[in-house]
């Protein structure tokens, strides 16, 4: 089911861009929002993030994400 949802979302994102259905400022936000939902689906359905030692798994992900976002924000300034 998660898989179907992911295919669906990629499809919609693709469709939106190909047919230019969204106004430009929102494009990036909407697309990245879709990507994040897809990642969540992966994490919960496929990667079983909520099993044992889940605290450390989340620390690992969120810590990495924090540094990554800092890097992106400052590099692209």
């Amino acid at each position: 089911m998660g898989f179907a949802a992911m295919l669906f979302m990629s499809g919609i994102a693709f469709y939106l861009v190909m047919n230019k259905r969204v106004i430009s400022e929102w494009t990036a936000v909407v697309l990245i929002g879709f990507a994040i939902v897809q990642v969540m689906l992966q994490l919960f359905f496929f990667m079983d993030i909520q099993t044992e030692r889940k605290g450390f798994k989340w620390i690992s992900l969120s810590g990495g994400l924090l540094v990554a976002i800092l890097a992106i924000v400052y590099l692209t300034r």
Partner: protein, 649 residues
Amino acid sequence: MTFTFFDTKIKMMSDIIVADLSILIMGIAVAILLTYYKKWRSLWKWLKSTHHSKVGIMYLTAGFAFFLRGGLDALIMRVQLALPQNEFWVFQGDKYNQMMTTHGTTMIFFVAMPLLIGLMNVAIPWQIGARDLAFPYLNAMSFWLFLAGGILVNISFVLGGSPTAGWTSYAPLALEKFAPGPGNDYYTLGLQVSGIGTLLTAINFLVTIINKRAPGMTFMRMPLFPWSTLVTSILILFAFPALTVALLLLMFDRLYGTNFLAADAGNSLIWQHLFWIFGHPEVYILVLPAFGIFSDVISTFSRKRVFGYSSMVISLMLIGFLGFMVWVHHMFTVGLGPTSNAIFAISTMSIAVPTGIKIFNWLFTIRGGVIQMRTAMLFALGFIPTFVIGGVTGVMLATVPADYQFHDSYFVVGHFHYVIIGGTILGIFAGIYYWWPKMFGFKLNEVLGKWHFWTFLIGFHITFFPMHIMGLKGMPRRVYTYLPEDGLAGLNMVSTIGAFMMAAGMMIFLWNLYYSARHSERSVGKDPWDGRTLEWTIPSPPPEYNFARIPKVRGIDPLWQAKTYTNGEIEAAEPLGEIEMPLSTVKPVLMSGALTIASFGFIFHVLVFQIVGITGVALLLVARSFQDTGSQSIKPPYDEDESIGGEKE
């Protein structure tokens, strides 16, 4: 005299000839000694070992070898700087930059880090009641990768020139256009290889500390050295990939002519951001483990539990977190705008709060205790005022407008040596004196130890305190000379004298190692310092399995509690039985050898070497995948008094 090495001309100047000769002589001497004492076989055993304390001791040995090299670089620089417009041997201009770069790179990556990682390797499993790290094989691999990287950076001097752009290796100076020749390629590849090793170590320690603690040792009962190791490992985990990317870009720019970091095309600030996203956490990677060592040492030799344990833990975590939020303070003068500078100034200052908490907690651990002046304790006590000086100058540097004056001047050089030597190096010495009897079964001589401490510490202050003043007098950092009218001659001479005093301290330390190995009393027993934590419950040196039976922990400082309540007896968590220990293997050595070959391939543009090296690594990884379950089973001897350490004394 010039010869060609894979299309790269290598000039044989007098300094390189001397370096070649000394490498040759040392190599021959080592070979003769090994043959004379018939140690080749045991050397081979060590190379193959994956055992945590053996790998740790190899880390320490290699780290000290690089320490001597880095120290020699420092002395050369100090001699060159002793007088205005001095011309010492060949060490002006580019050669000075080579010395300065090698000194910085070596001291950070191949001295401070491996010595700390060595101590972690040795002490962490003992302190948390484990038999080995979670991934012993990976651990050996980390060590050999670090060594390969260290050798690459250090061999550069005799094979085509060392890197010249400083340990920070800013682009565009580090690009092919301004730094031709293989020197800076050694830097990118050496750090890349050893960086992979460090990253793997971090994962290893994280999993070890999270999953391998003895029953009953909750996180809030762990000694502070494992705690600081845990936080440090998280820092490494998130900081080193940034360096990996930065080095990758620099390598592509240098080897394949891409345009990431050049200033005319690309963006030279990418390097600075990525480097400092790694580089500032790196400072805390260096100092947090030392904090952990000091906590344990101060607590042991004050015969008191650590004051404010939970605030110590929280401040460790805060320092770790804030460590990622401050990197722009290395870039205040780049012109990123006042808002960015102000934010990073405040975040930088805020790090002083948790650090201050730790300092006061240490002071109040001493208060009301019974302070025993052992050498390890002396290093810990010497650390407090020294590090506080480094800390307050750090806060001064965080005030942006004032930093416009301090930045890249000798004030900064003084500051970070106060932090890194005053924190990390003193911590390493404290740790070595503290755990030496556990590692080898005999103590280091206390009298020589005290001589070592005092010459080193006083020499240190004489060397680095004047540097603050030089900075205020306008001496920029990384200059190989200055003019007579600058009025810097006296201070520089004082600093040089101090440097030689530190070198004398190091010689006393080396002599102490030799002297104690020959003359020190054997069999110090399990608990030479009247310690508090689990490592002092097992024999010195411990058997391969450390604990014949894993202990059950019921509180903080379990051994001290046992001494107070149960006459030193610690309950075991399991019956005596066979113990599975990992096999030794030579694959990690081969793997780092393969990576070294590949690196030489990249440095000298030899495609065959690149392919051979990388294929070798891949094949070894596959081979490992098919041989990852073997283990040896050891049966500890029957133990009458049922104490957890196994053999009776």
